[in-house]
Amino acid sequence: MGEFIQLVVTGLTTGAIYALAAIGFTLLWQTSQTINFAQGEFVMLPAFFALAAMNVLGLPFSLAALVAIALSVLVLGVVFKTVVVDPLIRQGVLPLVISTIAVALLLKDGVKEVYSAEAQPFPSFVPDTVVTVLGTPVSLSQLGVLAVALAVIAALQGFLGGTRTGRQMQATAQNPTVARILGVPVERMVMYTFVINATLAAVASLLISPIYLAKFSNGEHLGLAAFVAAIVGGFNQVRGAIAGGLLVGVVDNLAAAYVSAAYRQAVPLALLVLIILFRPQGLLGRREERAV
């Protein structure tokens, strides 16, 4: 039983990070019909911004983390939207999908060529101290990751539900045309979602890199996890993405322990296929009725 609880807790920790990536994924989809295949790379990159800031500029980690978030907002938010998404939005979804796949390739190989092909150690906010809670050893860093991720999610939920801008963003996400008629500055709201996505990705990056080590290929796994989390939870709901992220994290851990380590990756994907077959709107998603 102790083993089970521990598996669930560690699953929630990684799941919370998946959720950060998955939320951004659904936000982009809702506001701009962007299926971002580079989402994993968006989580991979900010760690290297931080590393560069530390190693090249000689900044301390806390400052470097801020630099990483700022650069992410600029590059993965503003630049990504204006340079990649905006020119393509009229061409339909497929060219945009292709383009984000190319962006993923670009970021991955860019980091590999410019920084390093090898994994880099990455500092952690909280030290790796082990404390014993109720007889189970728990690492402080793990609790720290969980706390930060949940705090960021709570802050985001508070922002979306509790502020005027947040509600305008939600209106934009639900129906841009109606939002525009109601006087919501839709363009600005769309830009905000890209900025929020970049920020969430940067936070996820800073949280996950001490565990994963910073490496150019980290995005492959993270992207897949965020993708599965978003669809399983419900493509059109932020809380769906949160639930999906936590669920995927826990399911992945339990699968590794109790199903088969060799097929652990298969379990979340099987979940994805089942959801598509039997509940295409996702666990918490709203049903969308459309002609054909």
Binding site: E3, Q6, L7, T10, G11, T13, T14, K112, A117, E118, A119, Q120, P121, D128, V130, T132, P137, S139, S141, Q142, I208, I211, Y212, L213, K215, S217, N218, E220, H221, D252, N253, L254, A256, A257, A261, A262, R264, Q265
Partner: protein
């Protein structure tokens, strides 16, 4: 009269050999290795080792008067790409081919070099590579068929483990090692308490460590690639596991120590090659490598370094730079550091291309690999 004859002879030689004469100043060694993908660390070490040795050999006049030119080709850690690259290299009728290091890539390519009759000096350690009857495969390090028995002895005699949890990476390297160690553990009546497969490139080892804790073994045998080893060790520390962690060469390598930090302390096991070995030539190599590339080489750096020296010794024994002659010269050859200093440690190749030399038991203490014991050659 005498001088005319000399002139005619020179002219004749010139006529026959004028064009190839320029080419004969150099000899090309294609080096087909893992420079990107999962094997990037491994391949980069090997490449730097090769480059260092080649620059030394060239500075000393080359092999049989010919300077070496190396061409590094990336296999992307992919056997199919490796096969194509070797095919391409063979089109130029090379004297020898270096690489690949990943056993899967070696397996995919060894038939090609065997058909072409070109010696292939590999970094692969899978047990069965030398058992396929190729006369042109030569190892630079122990195969798992040699290292795993040594490691199993270590587990039995030094760690005194009655049961062992095995965690391995599910690729050609890890799977081969896992199969080899299983056989050896069984032969020594050591119980396998857990047998955990992990992904190549796996980032999250939380579930695996939890399972290991639950397995209640006396020791853990860790057979993962560098980065995965580091992630695993960090997770072990995070979860407060205090079992003996035992590994083979990779786990005690510098890259793992760099990446895992504190978490690597206390890790121990068998090491085939290391620059921390109590052998002056080896330590000297480590210093030269560090000076040139600014990091400490791992065993793959050593493997790459000795490869050109193997060819040099064999070619000098054969008296010519000819692929078949080099291959047959290497069979049964013992290369000693006093004649060929670049070989670093005396080594012998048998007729299957298997290597024999001394090896070491080691432990990581305070972020450094420390040799605790030297194991003799199998056939001294």
């Amino acid at each position: 009269m005498k001088s005319t004859r000399l002139v005619t002879a020179l002219a004749a030689a010139g006529l026959v050999a004028a064009a190839p004469a320029v080419a004969q100043q150099t000899v090309k060694f294609p080096n087909i290795i893992e420079l990107s993908g999962a094997g990037a660390t491994v391949g980069t070490n090997w490449r730097n080792g090769v480059e260092l040795a080649v620059s030394e050999i060239n500075a000393a006049g080359g092999i049989l008067g010919r300077k070496i030119v190396t061409e590094h080709v990336d296999t992307q850690s992919n056997p199919g790409t490796a096969r194509a690259a070797i095919q391409r290299a063979l089109d130029d009728n090379p004297v020898v081919i270096f690489g690949p290091i990943y056993s899967g890539s070696v397996k995919a390519t060894m038939q090609l070099t065997a058909d072409a009759g070109v010696p292939q000096i590999i970094g692969g350690e899978a047990a069965d590579l030398t058992a396929q009857g190729s006369k042109f495969i030569f190892r630079t390090s122990f195969g798992q068929n040699v290292s795993m028995p040594k490691l199993a002895n270590y587990l039995r005699d030094e760690v005194k483990a009655k049961s062992v949890a095995v965690i391995y990476v599910n690729n050609d390297f890890g799977k081969g090692g896992r199969d080899a160690i299983m056989k050896e553990l069984q032969a020594r009546n050591i119980k396998v308490a857990a047998d955990l497969s992990t992904e190549s490139g796996q980032a999250d080892f939380a579930a695996d460590v939890i399972k290991i804790k639950a397995a209640n073994a006396d020791a853990v045998f860790v057979y993962l690639n560098e980065e995965e080893s580091a992630r695993f060790l960090r997770e072990v520390k995070k979860q407060g596991v205090s079992l003996p962690l035992v590994g083979e060469t990779t786990l005690l390598g510098q890259k793992v120590i760099d990446l895992a930090g504190d978490a690597a302390n206390g890790v121990r096991g068998h090491v085939g090659l290391t620059v921390d070995a109590p052998v002056p030539a080896m330590q000297e190599f480590g210093r030269k490598f560090q000076a040139k590339y600014n990091y400490k080489p791992d065993h793959n750096g050593v493997k790459g370094y000795i490869a050109p020296y193997m060819v040099k010794a064999a070619a000098e024994k054969a008296g010519k730079l000819d692929p078949k002659a080099i291959a047959s010269a290497l069979h049964g050859l013992t290369i000693t550091p006093d004649k060929t200093p670049g070989i670093l440690i005396e080594a012998t190749w048998d007729t299957t291309g298997e290597i024999d030399r001394i090896s070491f038991l080691a432990e990581v203490q305070n972020g450094k690999q420390v040799i605790t014991k030297t194991l003799p050659k199998l056939k001294p």
